[in-house]
Point group: C2
Chain length 253, copies 2
């Protein structure tokens, strides 16, 4: 009988550029709570704000393509310019949605640019520049402050829409101290039958689970996940980049 739990950390203050997120998280959760080494799921907006991955729309001059898209989609051309700047490829542009591949390689709506989750209407929040590096840095910072027999893992999340299904679920965009994929391919099930296609995106499942522990209006960017020890590691590991399908394997370009 296995068990798994997710608990939102209360009293995280609004995050500002330059904030030391490791210090903020340790202060809010308490070092004792972190010493057992949970997986610490962090909504990317907190990471982006701390790192200053923000753009003031009033400083953006939209180019020709952004102006065209703004016209076609009835949207703010400056926001579309930011979205294009964050994209390596536009996959779809229909019905007021831009589906892009970001410079990191994520496929998502609007290059992950978040116009709703900032503190004023002129500022938009980008994805962290290098989310796996952010996760490693925050993990190291927390381990330094907390001690304990095992460093917690750090999982940076964002809400992505999905092809063919309504609604969004949180996925992993940055990761340190946990494997992103649990590979059962080639192994057998309880009946000795081969598990042919069992290759589980545990970091994405953990991100989705973390989101269930918070309320969207609660200002709770940090959630602690217990019971995932079997996926955690002393090493930082390859991070969430492991989850990205190579462009040449992409069936839905």
């Amino acid at each position: 009988m296995a068990a798994f739990s997710a608990t939102a950390v209360g009293s995280i203050p609004p995050i500002l550029p330059g904030d030391d997120l490791a210090r903020v998280i340790v202060a809010a959760a308490g070092p004792e709570r972190l010493r057992s080494g949970p997986v610490i799921a962090i909504a990317h907006t907190a990471v982006s704000k701390a790192e200053g991955a923000l753009v003031e729309l009033s400083q953006v001059s939209p180019g020709e393509r952004a102006l065209e898209l703004a016209e076609a989609q009835g949207r703010d051309a400056r926001l579309l310019q930011v979205i294009l700047d964050e994209a390596s490829e536009v996959l779809r542009s229909e019905r007021g949605v831009l589906i892009t591949r970001t410079t990191h390689g994520f496929v998502c709506a609007n290059s992950g640019v978040d116009a709703s989750n900032s503190t004023d209407r002129d500022t938009v929040v980008l994805l962290p520049r290098r989310p796996d590096e952010s996760a490693r840095r925050i993990r190291a910072g927390i381990a330094r402050l907390v001690g304990g027999e095992r460093a917690p893992a750090v999982l940076i999340t964002d809400s992505f829409g999905r092809a063919w299904r309504h609604g969004q679920v949180d996925v992993a965009i940055g990761l340190a101290g946990m494997g992103a994929l649990d590979d059962w391919r080639g192994r057998t099930d309880a009946n000795g039958m081969p598990l042919l296609a069992t290759w589980i995106a545990v970091a994405d499942a953990a991100a989705a689970a973390a989101d269930l522990a918070r309320s969207k209006d609660s200002g709770e960017p940090v959630v602690l996940l217990d019971g995932l020890e079997r996926f955690q590691s002393a090493q930082d590991g390859p991070g969430a980049a492991e989850l990205l399908r190579a462009i040449e394997e992409d069936l839905f370009r």
Copy 2:
């Protein structure tokens, strides 16, 4: 501070056609444990087996298209015939994978036909015929056996691959007593800023979370989820069908 937990139910026996799954779950989890009304996540293979949604490959005569695909993909033509029978549309057929829209409307690999999770090599497991109805029936059966102030919700899950990302996560394919989507569109965040695109597929997140509470080789098809009361309802609700994007909205056909 919100919290959420997932606990696998031990000692579920192998499920056979004709089994009363409600009775099996109540016997394994205990009526007391279910009286508080958790969300009961059930791996679809248990539901399909109980309902006899199984095909003996030795009874299948592959047609021309299945034979062609079998040749091209180096796969069993009888299995491909079953996959085609379960599909309303083949979206992609590349690199040994058939991505289909099932007759239910799910887009997934191989029409959800599971050749690994059965008890012998000749039998393949289909998706339940009407998974939302299965969820409602199992929910009613459990409520009858257990009593309690609130009927548990029932969530039937399957592991789906995703476009653009490696690995699979569990999603909801059948649902009763819980909303599939939590709609924050038009509402505001903690700063009073509009949450423009926040429409959370909570049933899919719950399915993903349930999978983290079990080990793939453990024969634990049933997981109890606590802490999701805010998404649960006395009514069965519209089910997992609500999660399906209409074909005419599909950007990736």
